[in-house]
């Protein structure tokens, strides 16, 4: 059975690096792994996407091991405004059925 799991919550301080890992078995072979940020009462917002190894953009890095059964979102120097819920999004492939699946979400609280 496909599962996508993340830590429920994380705490950090301003200026620190934060790493959030998502575990995803049965990920579809040809599909990307995407991470989103969600503030209260808003829709998710795209952060970064990758297929394997490492991807970096202006706000984050994404590390994906060779087996692609997990991925780690790295936020280099968090600020108070990074307090939000972070979700990974993958495509699971179970018995031929494809399903876009959000992870359980990680609530990041950044303290001053």
């Amino acid at each position: 059975l496909a599962k996508t799991t993340q830590p429920i919550s994380m705490d950090s301080y301003e200026g620190q690096e934060v790493n959030i890992t998502c575990s995803h078995n049965n990920i579809a072979t040809n599909d990307y792994i995407t991470w989103y940020q969600q503030f209260p009462s808003q829709g998710p917002r795209f952060i970064i996407q990758g297929y394997k190894t490492k991807v970096t953009n202006e706000v984050a890095s994404l590390f994906i091991p060779a087996d692609r059964k997990s991925s780690t979102l790295s936020l280099p120097r968090v600020s108070l405004s990074d307090t939000a819920v972070y979700y990974c999004l993958v495509v699971h492939s179970d018995t031929g059925r494809r399903a876009l699946t959000f992870g359980s979400g990680t609530r990041l609280q950044v303290q001053p």
């Binding site: 579809a28 599909d31 990307y32 995407t34 969600q38 009462s41 808003q42 829709g43 998710p44 917002r45 795209f46 996407q49 979700y87 999004l89 495509v91 494809r98 399903a99 876009l100 699946t101 959000f102 992870g103 359980s104 979400g105």
Partner: protein, 115 residues
């Protein structure tokens, strides 16, 4: 910056009634999606739509749900006979290509309350 819009922002309906949630995706996007988020829970995929037909749907998207692109701009989700457990935030999203290979742009959501 182009954005996905959704109407209404909040819909209250009685159990058993039909509701239609409306979305206007970004104009040059080809893929459209509906998600729901029950209060305090994670975002759940409902359905994806491309080339005027459903491309994928989840187990949640049963016969009481339907989607339509009635014209060149709107994308709608219809719930035929609402149940209490349909109360949730419903998000529409769109992307240029398939979600698995491109970022999705989400709308602000419609909060559906079934009484």
């Amino acid at each position: 910056e182009p954005e996905v819009t959704q109407t209404p922002s909040h819909q209250v309906t009685q159990m058993g009634q039909e509701v239609i949630l409306r979305c206007v995706p970004i104009s040059n996007h080809l893929y459209f999606y509906w998600y729901r988020q029950i209060l305090g829970q994670k975002v759940e995929f409902l359905v994806s739509f491309y080339n005027n037909e459903i491309s994928e749907k989840s187990e949640i998207f049963d016969d009481q749900f339907s989607v339509e692109r009635p014209d060149g701009s709107n994308f709608t989700l219809k719930i035929r006979s609402t149940k209490l457990e349909d109360s949730a935030m419903y998000f529409c999203a769109s992307s240029e290509v398939a979600a698995s290979r491109n970022e999705q742009y989400f709308g602000p959501g419609t909060r559906l309350t079934v009484t």
